[in-house]
């Protein structure tokens, strides 16, 4: 009997699988087709202070091995999420969820974080400083060490729950940014958010997406995620939620060997609604195959020797 449990910032997860923000809504659609209690946790759609419609359509394009999205943080606003979505989640998920916090100013990040901080169902605050699809916020903070440090410091001071900062891969040196977050008290890091990308339609000679560029996710970015998790693990001592193109239990093990404590599943949920559940159920057999008894033992295992 293998042990799949891990500990993320002091909270025990029965397994490291956490559907990633923006690919799982607020859980409702998936709760209708399987019991979400098989998951380690799941991450809420990125939430801002006020409701946001998001970006113009088309918001979706495709690559050879992934999806480009420019949804632009469509969400009903933090108050509605707390009043309507969290009580609904209580009806189908007994564990704690990860709240994904977005903002267009330091003040907004703090206010949204404070509201989620008072919700017992929320176990972790994932601070999204890496959304490539909005201007004046999101990735604007996440592409410099200084911006990342400012947001981390402001949120860390304002809340009690673990603060996990979600990093963008669209930078020259992700380690410098990871270090800045750790120095300001981040309890963990999530990486990677999507990779800034574009498609052009030869028939119209225009970009496919309504907002020109979008974020690429899916198997195309998996090796990039492995490389960045590896580098960040070498740089910081705080736990990492590794994500980016994960679609199998073997991918989960690979990202954990690179240094992830927990693993996000994103685009795979959009193609196969049962993907996260199936990865969870395939994990014990995959561990057996590689002689892994306790999953925690392999975290960062590729760095030894």
């Amino acid at each position: 009997m293998v042990n799949t449990s891990v500990k993320l910032c002091g909270e025990e997860l029965k397994n490291p699988i956490i559907p990633a923000s923006g690919t799982f809504g607020y859980g409702r659609e998936f709760a209708g087709i399987y019991d979400l209690n098989c998951l380690g946790s799941f991450t809420l759609k990125g939430t801002t202070e006020r409701p946001r419609f998001g970006n113009p359509r088309p918001r979706i394009a495709e690559g050879p091995s992934g999806i480009l999205n420019s949804v632009g943080l469509q969400n009903p606003g933090v108050d509605t999420v707390i009043e309507r979505e969290l009580p609904a989640i209580a009806g189908f998920f007994s564990g704690k969820v990860v709240a994904n916090i977005c903002g267009f100013s330091l003040g907004e990040y703090v206010r949204v974080a404070e509201k989620f901080d008072s919700c017992p169902q929320v176990g972790w605050l994932e601070v999204n400083i890496s959304c490539p699809n909005v201007h004046g916020g999101g990735m604007g903070f996440g592409t410099t060490a200084r911006g990342a440090a400012e947001v981390t410091r402001a949120v860390r001071r304002a809340v009690k729950k673990p603060v996990i900062v979600k990093l963008t891969p669209n930078v020259t040196d992700i380690c410098e940014i990871a270090r800045a977050c750790e120095a300001e008290g981040a309890d963990g890091l999530s990486l990677i958010n999507t990779v800034l990308a574009m498609r052009i339609d030869p028939a119209t000679r225009r970009p496919v997406l309504g907002s020109m560029t979008g974020g690429l996710s899916g198997p195309a970015v998996f090796p990039l995620a492995v490389r960045m998790v590896w580098q960040v693990y070498e740089t910081v001592g705080i736990p990492i939620i590794g994500m980016g193109g994960v679609r199998s239990a073997a991918d989960v093990i690979e990202l954990m060997l690179a240094g992830a404590t927990a693993v996000g599943v994103g685009a795979a949920n959009l193609v196969d609604p049962f993907a996260s559940r199936d990865i969870v159920s395939a994990l014990p057999e995959e561990m057996d195959k590689f002689g892994i008894e306790n999953l925690v033992d392999i975290i960062g295992g590729a760095h030894n020797g």
Partner: protein, 244 residues
């Protein structure tokens, strides 16, 4: 929503670029006319959504217009090919308020999905009228299928090569209908929403989708009740709901 493996049993060309695929599998996920299926096409990362044009006796019928790489691959699939398909997606048409004389209006590949709706309305005792529009006679679809139900569709073509010249929305002028059900290009649906003179209007929208089941927010539109997902809250919207 139900996930299943379906086997192509027939692939026939109905008009230039338009194919009808008959797929054998578990169709129990389809609960209402107007729902759609989301097909995983080998060679494409994302699924592709198509209106269901029939789901009876374990055979799923989809009509696919070849508009790009994914649909080119799908329309080239041979009998025996196995496809991973999500069925029972979307709300489907609400048949309860159709009244005695519903008018069914289809544009292009929006016409075939009205066929199972028409059959259901007939079973409920309604006397549907059908108005279908195409660019030309060559592009006309499903006329014999509606005839097999005992309905003679009113046909409109843009070039006048078949039926009346013009758009199917002209059929609204005759009046006398108790409800309108429509599937077709967005400008056609917007015109019907403006012009239909009856309280019950059911418009089946199309949209580029990411997931097809409400998770990604890729197909969100503005409605008078706020943002709505075409895939999950639709694809069928009522009179005056959509902000065009």
């Amino acid at each position: 929503m139900k996930q299943g493996i379906f086997t192509v049993i027939k692939n026939e060309q109905l008009a230039p670029g338009v194919h009808r695929l008959r797929l054998e599998g578990d169709t129990s996920g389809v609960t209402s006319p107007g729902q759609f299926a989301d097909v995983l096409i080998p060679g494409c990362f994302l699924r592709r959504p198509f209106s269901v044009c029939g789901a009876e006796g374990g055979v799923l019928t989809l009509c696919v217009r070849n508009t790009g790489r994914g649909t080119a691959l799908l329309t080239a699939s041979s009998p025996g090919a196995r496809l991973d398909i999500l069925t029972g997606l979307g709300n489907g048409f609400d048949l309860s308020a159709a009244g005695e004389r519903p008018l069914l209006m289809g544009g292009g590949t929006g016409s075939p999905p009205l066929y199972p709706l028409c059959a259901s309305l007939l079973r409920l005792g309604a006397r549907p009228g059908v108005a279908l529009g195409y660019p030309s006679a060559e592009a006309a679809l499903y006329l014999d299928e509606f005839r097999s139900l005992g309905i003679e569709p009113e046909v409109y073509t843009l070039d006048g090569s078949l039926g009346m010249t013009g758009l199917p929305t002209q059929a609204l002028r005759a009046g006398g209908y108790t409800s309108v059900y429509a599937c077709g290009p967005l400008p056609m649906l917007a015109a019907i929403d403006r012009e239909a003179d009856c309280p019950v209007v059911q418009l089946s929208l199309e949209a580029r989708m990411g997931c097809g089941f409400g998770a990604c927010m890729g197909c969100t539109i503005e409605t008078k009740d706020g943002p709505r997902r075409v895939c999950k809250d639709g694809p069928v919207f009522g009179k005056g709901e959509v902000i065009w």
